[in-house]
Structures are given as structure tokens and as C-alpha cells.
Chain length 215, copies 2
């Protein structure tokens, strides 16, 4: 068996990849069109190409499909969101409420993503001083998924306003798994190259290169 030839990425691909990064959005408004199962498999395969500490591959995906499971997630979100709203005053509170942070109602595909904190895969390599790198590996798989989805013109929204322990219990997953993210997935109602929170005046973009510290 011969090894595959090393690919060359030219300037045109690098430019198109930058366009992909620029148009990846946290999508909250979805069309109801379903996503073909083969395509979802392909996106999950892309997720699994992420780096992981000690090659531990700790990402675990749960497809949340049933009405009962989705209702449990929505109730969880509403409780956590009401509590978060209490932290904001006046105009900010109204803006926050109007942002419709969750595509939970409309997204045709919903994935709960966990990190298997007890995995023996990878034999613990590389995470002795920084055990949080296990969850970081799952986060990188999510970013792969997100970008692969956008390359197929599919949108992803990450819902983090959730009680992680309650969600794990509601979905009856392995108690050794920790909750990492809840993803709403579907074809977006509209595309944009600007974050919704920037468009709505919540926050402005900040550069990094200019403030690069040197040591």
C-alpha cells in the first residue's frame, strides 16, 4: 500500500478557506428542511478528524430527536435563560431577550456533545498537568463540524445557556461524560459575514494582531 500523495494547498484555496471562516456564523434562525443522513455522517466524520490530547478522541455525540428529549432541553434552556436575564438591566435586558439565542424550536437536527472524562483511549498522555485539554479536544471537533457544515451551506448554533448536570441527567448518558455543547443544526434562513451580536450592537469586533504581546 502506498501512502497518498501530499496535497498542495494553493493561494486560491487559502483565500476560499478565509471566506469560509468569515461566513461561518452562530446561526439561530433555521429553515425546516431536513439534513440528509449521509451528509450528517460526513460532518461527524469531519469532527472526528480534530486533534485530541494524546489522541484520546473523547468526543461523544448524542442526536436529540424525540419530542420528550427536545422538550427537556427547551425547559432546561428556559430556566437557565430566565436566571441569566436577571443579570441585565433595562435596554440590555430587552436586547438580550430579543436576541432569540436559541434555535431550539426550529433546528431540524440537534446534537448534544459530551466529553468522555473516563476514557482510556490515549492512555492519559499529555493531560496530566492540564486535564481540561480533554474537553478542549471535543471543542476542536465541534469547530471542525461547524466549518464542514458551513462548507455544505449548513448553519450551526451553539447553545450554552443550559444547566449541564440537568441536561446530562435528562438525556441519560454515561455518568462519566461531561456536557460540552448543545448544537442546533440546519439550513439557515439567511447568511451573513458579520456576527449577529455585532449586527445588533451588542459588541464590536476586536483585532488581535495589533495587540500581540512579545516576550
Amino acid at each position: 500500500m502506498t501512502a497518498p500523495a501530499e496535497p498542495t494547498f494553493d493561494d486560491a484555496f487559502a483565500a476560499a478557506f478565509t471566506t469560509l471562516l468569515r461566513w461561518r456564523r452562530d446561526v439561530r434562525h433555521f429553515r425546516p428542511d431536513p439534513i440528509a443522513p449521509d451528509l450528517l455522517d460526513r460532518l461527524l466524520d469531519a469532527a472526528c478528524l480534530a486533534p485530541s490530547v494524546g489522541y484520546s478522541q473523547p468526543w461523544r455525540f448524542v442526536l436529540v430527536e424525540s419530542a420528550a428529549a427536545r422538550e427537556a432541553v427547551r425547559a432546561n434552556f428556559e430556566g437557565a435563560n430566565a436566571e441569566a436575564l436577571g443579570d441585565y438591566q433595562g435596554e440590555r435586558a430587552k436586547l438580550y431577550a430579543s436576541l432569540k439565542l436559541a434555535g431550539l424550536r426550529d433546528a431540524p437536527v440537534q446534537l448534544a456533545v459530551f466529553t468522555d472524562a473516563g476514557t482510556q483511549i490515549g492512555h492519559g498522555l499529555g493531560r496530566k498537568t492540564m486535564p481540561e485539554t480533554l474537553a478542549y479536544s471535543t471543542v476542536m471537533a465541534i469547530q471542525n463540524f461547524w466549518l464542514a457544515a458551513r462548507s455544505a451551506n449548513i448553519g450551526v448554533g451553539w447553545v450554552s445557556i443550559l444547566d449541564p448536570d440537568a441536561l446530562r441527567a435528562d438525556l441519560a448518558v454515561d455518568p462519566g461524560w461531561s456536557f460540552t455543547a448543545y448544537l442546533c443544526v440546519g439550513y439557515p434562513q439567511a447568511a451573513s459575514d458579520r456576527p449577529e451580536l455585532a449586527r445588533r450592537g451588542w459588541e464590536a469586533p476586536h483585532g488581535a494582531s495589533r495587540e500581540l504581546l512579545k516576550r
Copy 2:
């Protein structure tokens, strides 16, 4: 000002992007060739296109250039690595030692990446129940950086065998920043579509789609 037209990503781009994911590697063996400052700026700009919780953009990059700073990082790694080695017995210990986990000696560009835990940017939106999403945002910026680097035929290696508190002190950064990752960056000596830990028999790849749970 008119909004830019929405890009269309075709099947050829999606296939090339999958190739990019497949050939992104955790690189530990670098050529000494420098990286042009403009190119490094472009990779940092790609990092800043990552999603962040509440648009908080908490990533902070420190370019580690001086001999003193690099020596402090190397000493930190050697201490943490010796301690980690004590956890493995016999052949595994030898393999572990032979993996040369760090490109710390050779990588022409080295970046310490922090998360600004005290940032007011984004007004705390979305992270009340899951404060760890702030560091997750930085991790997604790192994955953007990693993939953009690969698209420019540059390799990245993530070193996690470090004492995070000592590193933060050594580099004299804002005490409100938490340490997220140390990245070695440079042109790789060789490319591969298989993880080094797989090639060396440390761990095998595991699929995800087949074990997808449904709820």
C-alpha cells in the same frame, strides 16, 4: 455600502476542505525556515474569526521570542514531562519518551495562548451556567489558526505538558489571564495524513458516526 455577496461553497471546495482536515497534524519536527511576519498576522486574523461566547473574543496571544522566555518554557516542560513519565511503565514509558512531544527546541515561531477570564467584552452573555465556554472560545480560535496554518503549508504543534500557573508567571502576563495552550509553529519536516501517535502504535483511530446515540 452594499453587503458582500454570499459565497457559494461547491463540492470541490468541500472535498478540498476535508483534505485539509485530514492533513492537519500535530507537528513536532520543524524546519528552521522563518515565517514571514505578514503571514503570521494573517493566521492570527484567521484565529480571530472564531466564534466566541457572547462575542467575548477572549483569546490573547503572546509571541515567545527571547532566549530567556523560551528557556523558561523549556524548563517548565521538562519538569512536567519528567513527572508525567513516572506514570508509565516499561515499553509505554520508552515509547512516551521517544515521542519527542515538543517541538520547543526547533519551532521558529512559538505562541503562548491565554484566555482573558476578566474580559468585559460581550458583557458576560451566554456563560453564566457554563463559564468554561470562555476558554472554549479561545480553543476554537486555536483550531482556526491551526487549519489556516495548514492551508499555508505551515505546521502547528500543541504542547500541553506544562505547569500553567508557572508559565503565566514566567511570561509575566495579566494575572486575570488563564493559560490555554502553547503552540509551536513552523514549516514541517514531513507531512502526513495520519496522526503520529497512530503511526507509532500509541492509539488507533475510533469512529463516531457508528456509535451515535439517539435520544
